[in-house]
């Protein structure tokens, strides 16, 4: 999912956009931000920062849409989607790090003979 969003948005970011209001991109970006919030990005400071950046970029995009600056709006949406994806990735990386640490501690307790 993350790659699909990144690739598709990256394509238009490199210059294949048009003048229509990016309603679909807007909806996708909002969904990405909500997903980042749902995976618990708020519990991870760096992830929370990127959720905020994504929200800021989303506001910029909405302003560009109001100003009929469609290309700038698409660029802002793409930046927002990347921040949202990064927030999710950071949360999950943190989770894998904790799991690895826990498993290492369990193995160490057996290795040293602790109960």
């Amino acid at each position: 999912m993350r790659s699909l969003i990144a690739v598709s948005l990256f394509a238009f970011a490199f210059g294949c956009g048009n003048a229509e209001v990016p309603a679909q991109e807007l909806a996708q970006t909002e969904a990405s931000i909500r997903a980042a919030e749902e995976v618990g990005a708020a519990g991870h400071p760096e992830a929370a920062l990127h959720v905020k950046m994504a929200r800021d970029q989303l506001k910029s995009a909405e302003k560009y849409i109001d100003d009929d600056e469609t290309e700038l709006a698409k660029e802002a949406l793409y930046r927002a989607s990347l921040d949202a994806e990064l927030a999710v990735a950071l949360s999950r990386e943190n989770q894998t790090r904790v799991e690895a640490l826990n498993m290492q501690q369990k193995a160490a307790s057996l290795r040293t003979g602790a109960p």
Partner: protein
């Protein structure tokens, strides 16, 4: 002071030259993107997130081109922003992948150690079972030894099971001369086999040696004689290996007859020593 002036002058000259040549410093976004890409390329992403790194590099190249075309432009900043975020993503995914590998390795070690412990614990159980089997075999062997010894006593002893345990009844006339409590040599030889069997028997089974007399003569003399005879047998068994602490003696006098004291045969039966072996618990 002089040096500071020289540096300031140099900066002014370079700034003038740069402005004259149209060279502008990279945007903060571009500087951050370059740094983020370097970090990601040198980390785990360099091995496991090469596609993502390539995307970051393409965005960075685009930002560099925009910088050359129109430094500090929105396009330079936009592509630099993309390059930095994609590089961050590559770095984060690379680290997550490394964490998963670390967790998997730790789990494999944990499973292996758990299995080793389980096998060791099972071995201990098997060993304990073997020890129990050995104890049981030794107990059975001792019982068999006792039965064999008892069979050899058959000519002058009776053996029977009672609620109070196994009772070996030894005829007094075989053990002692009349009115005495010293064991006869022939009796000692017979008691040697009994002592050996009792020594090997389950140490939890207590042994009591009881002395009994017939009703002839004064009660107190019979009581004393029964005490002495019981103690004589008990001491002999201890001297032959039965643990001192598990065997005791008691004189019952003439109070517990098993035959009529009015006949010679009954009195002979009443003059006896009983070895009572408590039941196994």
């Amino acid at each position: 002071m002089k040096t500071k002036l020289q540096i300031t002058a140099l900066a002014l000259v370079l700034g003038t030259l740069g402005a004259a040549c149209g060279v502008k410093a990279p945007s903060q976004e571009l500087l951050s993107a370059r740094a983020a890409y370097d970090v990601a390329a040198k980390g785990p992403a360099g091995k496991v997130e090469q596609d993502k790194l390539l995307t970051a590099k393409q965005a960075l190249d685009k930002a560099e081109k925009e910088h050359l075309d129109d430094a500090q432009s929105n396009e330079e900043k936009h592509f630099a922003y993309i390059a930095e975020r994609v590089a961050n993503l590559a770095d984060t995914y690379g680290k997550a992948s490394m964490n998963q590998r670390t967790a998997a390795a730790a789990k494999a070690e944990f499973d292996q150690l758990s299995e080793s412990r389980r096998v060791a614990a099972e071995g201990k159980v098997v060993k304990t079972q073997a020890e129990l089997d050995n104890e049981r075999a030794a107990r059975l062997k001792a019982e068999a030894s006792l039965q064999a010894a008892l069979r050899s006593l058959a000519e002058f002893a009776k053996v029977k099971e009672e609620p109070r345990g196994m009772v070996i009844t030894l005829n007094g006339s075989v053990l002692f001369t009349t009115g005495k409590w010293e064991l006869l040599p022939a009796a000692q030889k017979k008691l040697d086999d009994v002592a050996k069997a009792l020594a090997d028997l389950d140490p939890k089974r207590a042994i009591v040696v009881e002395g009994h007399t017939d009703s002839q003569g004064p009660d107190d003399a019979n009581q004393t004689l029964s005490n002495d005879r019981a103690k004589s047998v008990r001491d002999y068994l201890v001297s032959r290996g039965v643990a001192d602490g598990r065997i005791s003696s008691v004189g019952k006098g003439e109070g517990t007859p098993i035959g009529e004291n009015t006949s010679a045969e009954g009195r002979a039966n009443n003059r006896r020593v009983e070895i009572v072996i408590a039941p196994a618990k």
